[in-house]
């Protein structure tokens, strides 16, 4: 894909890059079509220009919604973390707790996953690593009751940030989505204006299903940001381009490992560059 003449192979190569990084069929078709139009108008002279134009298109989509999370404006700032099973919610919360305490914030965690085996123990282990308390009930308890107690405690103890961990749930399960709405309602009732951020966690290895996840979680809980995990493997996580664009959601954080400091702010430029690295 050098400075050669553009032929059908060039476009096919770009299409392969897009599809194999999970950008998705719909977005790929849109992006390639726009390139074809510009080719038709002779705006793009060679393979290099084509590639640059494509990268610029993707970057523009990500930049359109990009914004960093500001937790300073509210006290307590309530962050609700949701997503399908096993994407990295609890781990991301562990990393966030460390990041916030590192900035001198007082943090409290709520173990509102009362379903999965040893979910609360997992969150407690993370809490210990940054010296943060966890509000928990017994396994099988009502998650809304945990959240109720956690909100009360957050206000009473005057913490800066309350982070709520929830059980993994598939977005298609009506009863579990209702349970999550209830958690959301309890938070809003106890702390007006909260949750101030509802973070949807997506796994970088996820394909097109992430679009459906974002749609249904947004409908049910008013998602306000994305955390993209497991970018330290070979997965590119391209589906966030579609998710961010289609639902107007900023990607806030990326997860790049299992250690406590393996969390980064999302950087649209670096992310776009990585999509095009072999």
């Amino acid at each position: 894909l050098g400075k050669k003449e553009i032929d059908a192979d060039t476009l096919e190569e770009l299409e392969e890059i897009l599809i194999t990084s999970d950008i998705g069929v719909k977005t790929t078709v849109e992006l390639i079509r726009s390139l074809e139009q510009r080719l038709g108008r002779n705006e793009l002279k060679d393979g290099e220009a084509l590639r640059a134009a494509l990268k610029a298109d993707i970057l523009a989509r990500l930049n359109a919604h990009h914004s960093v999370l500001d937790t300073d404006a509210r006290h307590p700032f309530v962050l609700l973390v949701i997503g399908v099973n096993g994407v990295g919610k609890t781990t991301t919360i562990g990393k966030l707790a460390s990041r916030f305490t590192g900035k001198g914030k007082r943090v409290l965690l709520a173990a509102a996953d009362t379903f999965r085996a040893a979910a609360a123990e997992q969150l407690e282990a993370w809490g210990e690593r940054s010296g943060v308390d966890v509000v928990r009930h017994k396994e099988g308890a009502d998650p809304s009751a945990v959240v109720f107690d956690a909100c009360k405690a957050a206000v009473a103890r005057q913490v800066d940030i309350l982070i709520v961990d929830t059980a993994g749930r598939l977005h298609t399960k009506v009863n579990l989505m209702e349970e999550m709405k209830k958690i959301h309602r309890v938070i809003s009732r106890e702390i007006p204006g909260a949750p101030h951020e509802t973070l949807l966690v997506l796994d970088a290895a996820t394909g097109q299903n992430a679009v459906s996840q974002a749609r249904l979680f947004k409908e049910a809980a008013g998602v306000t940001g994305i955390a993209l995990t497991k970018l330290d493997g070979t997965a590119k996580g391209g589906i966030v381009v579609a998710v961010s664009h289609e639902f107007g959601l900023p990607v806030r954080y990326i997860g790049v490992g299992e250690a406590i400091d393996d969390l980064r702010d999302f950087n649209p430029q670096e992310f776009t560059d990585a999509l095009f690295q072999a």
Binding site: N85, G86, G88, A117, A118, L170, S212
Partner: protein, 297 residues
């Protein structure tokens, strides 16, 4: 978002009338739709390419039979080819035929569903009148050992006593001895999630394999996985020569095309599917059900 492939193909062929055989020309557009449908279902780019080519070869020159529309006929060819790729309805049972205790080892990416599936398999084997022992050999993830211990308690299954300061290979070897001495016939090893490019952790799995010689090494794959499935499954298979696949989280709306990629790249059968968080949500794999799902039938 996208109409089902059947509907698309009907409308593709509406434009053609009265053709007797399928030709390069008149199936071109149909194959384009097939390609898009498979990509939409997360089947890997290269796997789709090869597959569409094999369908083209099959389809060109076939007579359109009276009872089917051309669209239905293409669907039938695609369906039958996909089922064949997925191993047809071959027997995907576990291989446990050896002197007990036999070991089953679960491997895969972080969060794929290994620990949960250990419990589900344990329950399945107990129902088959076997005596399984669950073995927590994930010393990295916080509370991973407690997680499997809890699962075991919920199922009334024995869980081997291990701790996070032990080496996983030592845990597994000790568990095999314990099983032998205490009459457990099947040992289910839960390992930590890892990326296939993590040499240190992949080596650890190879060591466990060499130490306990498991009859089954099951690669646990999340049904929501996208294009990455080929890299991951390929990596695990290359290093460990897996014996089968468990496809988890099929209870959602993911098409599960990744299973096709995994099968294509490893040649290993999908043995079970996971259909929920609950410990009874495990079923034997049926190729035709997955194919119907991918094709939206």
């Amino acid at each position: 978002m996208f109409d089902s492939l059947s509907e698309k193909l009907e409308s593709v062929f509406k434009k053609l009338r009265g053709q007797g055989v399928m030709t390069e020309d008149n199936i071109k557009e149909a194959l384009r739709e097939v390609r898009l449908a498979l990509l939409e279902a997360d089947v890997n780019f290269k796997v789709v390419k090869d597959f569409v080519e094999s369908v083209r070869v099959k389809a060109v020159g076939t007579e359109v039979v009276q009872s089917l529309t051309p669209g239905q006929q293409v669907i039938k060819i695609v369906h039958d080819e996909l089922v064949a790729v997925m191993g047809g309805n071959e027997d995907n049972g576990l291989n446990l035929a050896a002197k007990p205790p036999v070991a089953i080892m679960m491997v895969g990416l972080q969060g794929a569903g290994k620990t949960t599936t250990c419990g589900k398999l344990g329950r399945h084997l107990k129902n088959l009148k076997r005596r399984p022992l669950l073995v927590p050999a994930d010393v990295y993830r916080p509370a991973a050992i407690e997680q499997l211990a809890t699962v075991g308690r919920q199922l009334g299954l024995e869980v081997f006593n291990s701790s996070a300061d032990q080496k996983p290979v030592d845990i597994c070897s000790a568990a095999m001895r314990f099983a032998e001495l205490n009459g457990f016939d099947t040992v289910i090893l839960d390992t930590a999630g890892r990326h296939q490019i993590d040499d240190f952790l992949m080596n650890e799995l190879a060591e466990i394999k060499a130490a306990v010689l498991p009859l089954e090494i099951l690669f646990v794959a999340d049904a929501m996985t996208g294009q990455e499935a080929v890299n991951v499954a390929g990596g695990f298979n290359e290093r460990l020569d897996i014996t089968g696949v468990v496809l988890t989280k099929l209870d959602g709306d993911a098409k599960g095309g990744a299973a096709l990629s995994v099968k294509a790249v490893t040649g290993k059968p999908v043995k079970f599917v996971g259909l929920g968080e609950k410990l009874d949500a495990l079923e034997v794999f049926h190729a035709d059900r997955l194919v119907s799902r991918i094709l939206g039938m």
